[in-house]
Symmetry: C2
Subunit: 252 residues, 2 copies
Amino acid sequence: MKQRRSNEKEKDFLKSYDASKFERPSVTADVVILTLDESDELCILLIKRGEHPFRGSWAIPGGFLHAGEESIDEAAARELRTETNIDDVYLKQLYTFGSLGRDPRTTVISVAYTALVPKSRLDIRPGDDASDAKLFRIKYDVNGILFFGEDVTISEEDLAFDHSEIIRMAITRLRNRIDYEDDAFNLLRDREEFTISELKRIHETIKNRSLDLPNFRKAFLRDYVATGKVTDTGKTVISKGKPARLYALAER
Amino acid sequence: MKQRRSNEKEKDFLKSYDASKFERPSVTADVVILTLDESDELCILLIKRGEHPFRGSWAIPGGFLHAGEESIDEAAARELRTETNIDDVYLKQLYTFGSLGRDPRTTVISVAYTALVPKSRLDIRPGDDASDAKLFRIKYDVNGILFFGEDVTISEEDLAFDHSEIIRMAITRLRNRIDYEDDAFNLLRDREEFTISELKRIHETIKNRSLDLPNFRKAFLRDYVATGKVTDTGKTVISKGKPARLYALAER
DNA sequence: TTAATAGTGTCTGTAAGACAATATTGC
DNA sequence: GCAATATTGTCTTACAGACACTATTAA
């Protein structure tokens, strides 16, 4: 026991003094990129891995931290940019995943981020380590989440690594945040003007349940219009019934 | 080895294939260990660093991940055990800090955790990399947080690395969680039985503001007693005024 | 008795949710 | 006119907070 303790001690000393002498884990920044399609359904960007491990499996985009050259937040932004050509959107750290064996190669610590992106700004292109990149519609099933691509449908178990866990956490977090943060607007920021019904539909998508329009409207007027976060444009738009009033994000 | 198509591509390939050829960051698990003292004031365990960098400065306990031997959660638990001889308490991941230059040596990614511990279970002993370890009372000041030790008082700026930021985030998170999670009980779990006033005082400490006892009581009865999480022992305890009823955590 | 603490009751304002009723458009 | 959608209004319930009031102990 004593002996073991002094071994420990030397290891710690050397580690803090010259960390390069010791095995270090790899660190990746992985990004759950969410958007809404034309029907206001929730979509996620997945890439098809071009390299081992999990070559050929779908995964969320991510890549190794360029240690010394960038912060972990910058690594996440770089991954987002690489995959979608987007800068400057909602991008927040989600959680860090570091179970043993989550990567079959070696110890990989994955710092996961969530990005909320207006679809119109997406310019999808597979990064160097991917053979394909696609948007998938997210649907819920008794067995979990299904991902509907244009020509493929995959389930949670098909995803590489523990990415299904990461995605589930991202969706849960978004659901919990949407009531008291302005996240929904980040998903539609390209839409200059919008109606209450449109915003309600987005909330319904994220929460995966239907909402009462009169009550939603009441809360919207109280929390966004009365507080000045959103302004009434005075304009209306006509679709099938009574014209709806158009609102817009207030200037900042 | 593949043909060189672009520097980026080759870099990525090698990184994913043989990550040891590339510079990796060091990863640490750091733990904000919080407890309450006899006066129900919030305290934090800080260690005095015995090694460079920041040798001699106070810091939260932490250490390098033993890559391949433990998960990041296990590393945090190990750090907690090393410093306090405690296992099996509230220990949750807080946030991951990975700014450039947060450690002067090299890139260090720090996965921070929060531990809530009953003081009676604390058995403080400096780890191998520390020359001292002490509890400090947390006090708020116009300039930030002050830490009162038995014979030292330090301020946020005296802390090593970005540990003041980590501590502030831990306290903020605890404050936001205490209303809808049962965290407060984890800070007093050794106290078998407790009165409503005692629990209220803990909430006041964490929120750093005074609460109304009748209203606190109402919420306590509704959220804890009526739901069965806490049982009324039927006993009372006398101090200075009317005897107070004793409650206890329900058996699990 | 008084001081101190515990506990009860009441009132107000606000928010969530169910849902009825009305308004304005295209057809 | 009718169907569809938007908007307004009403009612109930729940919770937060302020605060008056009562209860029970020690000294």
